[in-house]
Assembly symmetry: C2
Homo-oligomer: 341 residues x 2
């Protein structure tokens, strides 16, 4: 087994630039995994040249994107996200699907090392030809981590992956961001009282299209079935979602691989219903527009940071507003005037 | 009793411009309520000239600001927010405080008409000399509603109000905005099972420094006391707040005016503790900086909207990204380049 350090080195080397950039898009859309890996590295780069190269590739890939189900997966640490993804991903590849797994926040299971040599996590899926696993982007990604993840989804789709799982830890700020880039949002939970107070925020529960109670096996099965009813009742009390979908609760055992079909059937039924109603496409369009506006804000922020004169003036204005020397409105007006001059 | 229409007209007239703008700040800081009312109208105006006039006044007022306790008050409709504010506000004025009440979202109790002629809400407080009540700003406020409310707080402080209550309905998007402009956040609830599922979001519970169980009177008293213990236990399970304050739960009866002293003592103890630890000032500074950045975003958005050429290009780019003709990154880059040229 490789040491962690050696594994990181190997990973970086594997992901590093090689071959002709011009052919990257062609190789990627033909399903070449190393091309996909390389493109995502470009997308996640904090180097402007790399980012421009990535944009050229993505633009060529765009006609091949959009044909997947984008699935957000969240849950507190210990709920078994990586075992679930391993189990569900394997089930899907056996059904002929190609599955990509992306992680968003640095604290998610993926980035704790599954593909960096730690053989204890997703060891089957990580060597499965029909699967692609990618840990969190570094926080230095040009355009922001969210943007990098969004673009990685597009690249995975262009490479022929038709189920994209985006993993996040359900305790941070990233859930809303994930929610805004996926079709369906899945919350993993464990049966047993008090779970919902132990870290999962109510806001996250409200986002979920599907709640999955994991570890429903052996002695846990009975409590899991009971919890399923409880959650299903609780979810009925929330206002109806914009999708008009009533959130569902499923139980499964990731270690025994049971009920994966129930999870998948729920998701495909969601997809069918929302495609029929037009909500599926409408949501994706809104997400695209919102990512444009987010990117605009990103570039404005960059301009404020990178221009020394502006950055100094902003710092000065920040001090002025905190000391009640000027109003936020007037300070902002001055900064924007300077920015646009 | 005035008709609603006549009341609105009277209110508008009363709040309309009159007198010398140059003396507005002087009159306001001397405690002149009609000057305060007029300044807030200027702050809330969608007219640029009015807004500039308002900024001039606020700038003169700034040295007199900051010396209040800013209190956010939220709760679902029916929990008794207006009776609580009436009762608590009256209690405070009896103790010699001057109390200002601002509403944020259009659905809050204030804007349902208390000062627009509806005598059933806050009828004592609205005629109390030591109190000032103001409904929601119109959504057209230049700089945004949040900014208008923030500036209204400053104006109320400059006019000598030392307790500012900002009221919002605990079901919408405005709670985070309020949270970011107050010192302490108060959640009003009712005793009785299921309340927390009936509309209050968990995220709001987590924001609360103080949970107040209202209508703790008569037959409700026992359940209220029980609920108090329950909530106090539940709040212990949340991670400790940045303020290091353990959230408190108090019961009160707004109709009978009981336990208002317990509510006030809790708040003053919070204030003492956070002022000693430095958190109080630190938070206000952060809020000021964040309002500057929010205003910058506002002005950028305005520029994108008001420049016809830019607005048309943005619309075009929005369509391009939704149809996968370009990436959000490239589209944003083009827009920002055009904006800054």
């Amino acid at each position: 087994m490789l040491s962690k350090k050696a594994a990181i080195k190997r990973f970086k080397k594997r992901a590093a630039l090689k071959g002709d950039d011009a052919q990257l898009a062609e190789r990627l859309t033909a399903g070449d995994i190393s091309a996909l890996s390389k493109c995502i590295t470009l997308v996640e780069s904090s180097n402007k040249k790399n980012k421009e190269a990535a944009q050229a590739v993505i633009k060529k890939c765009l006609p091949h994107t959009g044909k997947s189900i984008r699935l957000g997966i969240t849950g507190v640490p210990g709920v078994g996200k990586s075992t679930f993804i391993e189990s569900f991903g394997t089930y899907l590849t056996q059904k002929g699907h190609r599955v990509a797994v992306l992680a968003v926040d640095p604290s998610s299971t993926l980035s704790k090392g599954s593909i960096l040599g730690d053989k204890t996590r997703m060891n089957n899926l990580s060597v499965n030809e029909k699967a692609f696993i990618r840990p969190s982007p570094s926080s230095g990604a040009l355009g922001g981590v969210t943007n990098a993840t969004r673009e990685s989804i597009l690249l995975c789709e262009a490479a022929g992956f038709d189920v994209i799982m985006i993993e996040t830890v359900g305790v941070g700020q990233s859930e809303t961001e994930i929610y805004n880039m996926v079709d369906f949002f899945t919350l993993l939970m464990l049966a047993g009282a008090g779970d919902e107070l132990q870290g999962i925020k109510r806001g996250i529960m409200e986002m979920a299209d599907l709640v999955i109670i994991n570890k429903a096996d052996g002695e846990n099965l009975k409590t899991a079935k009971y919890a399923r009813r409880e959650y299903q009742n609780a979810l009925h009390l929330f206002p109806l979602k914009a999708s008009q979908l009533q959130p569902k609760v499923q139980i499964c055992s990731s270690t025994e691989g049971t009920n994966m079909n129930a999870v998948w059937n729920t998701l495909t039924s969601f997809a069918t219903k929302t495609k029929e109603s037009g909500y599926f496409d409408e949501k994706r369009k809104k997400q695209a527009v919102s990512s444009l506006h987010q990117s605009i804000r990103y570039f404005i922020d960059q301009n404020l940071k990178e221009n020394d004169e502006l950055a100094a003036e902003l710092k000065k204005k920040e001090i002025e507003v905190t000391h009640c020397k000027t109003t936020a409105y007037q300070a902002a007006q001055a900064i924007v005037k300077m920015l646009l001059k």
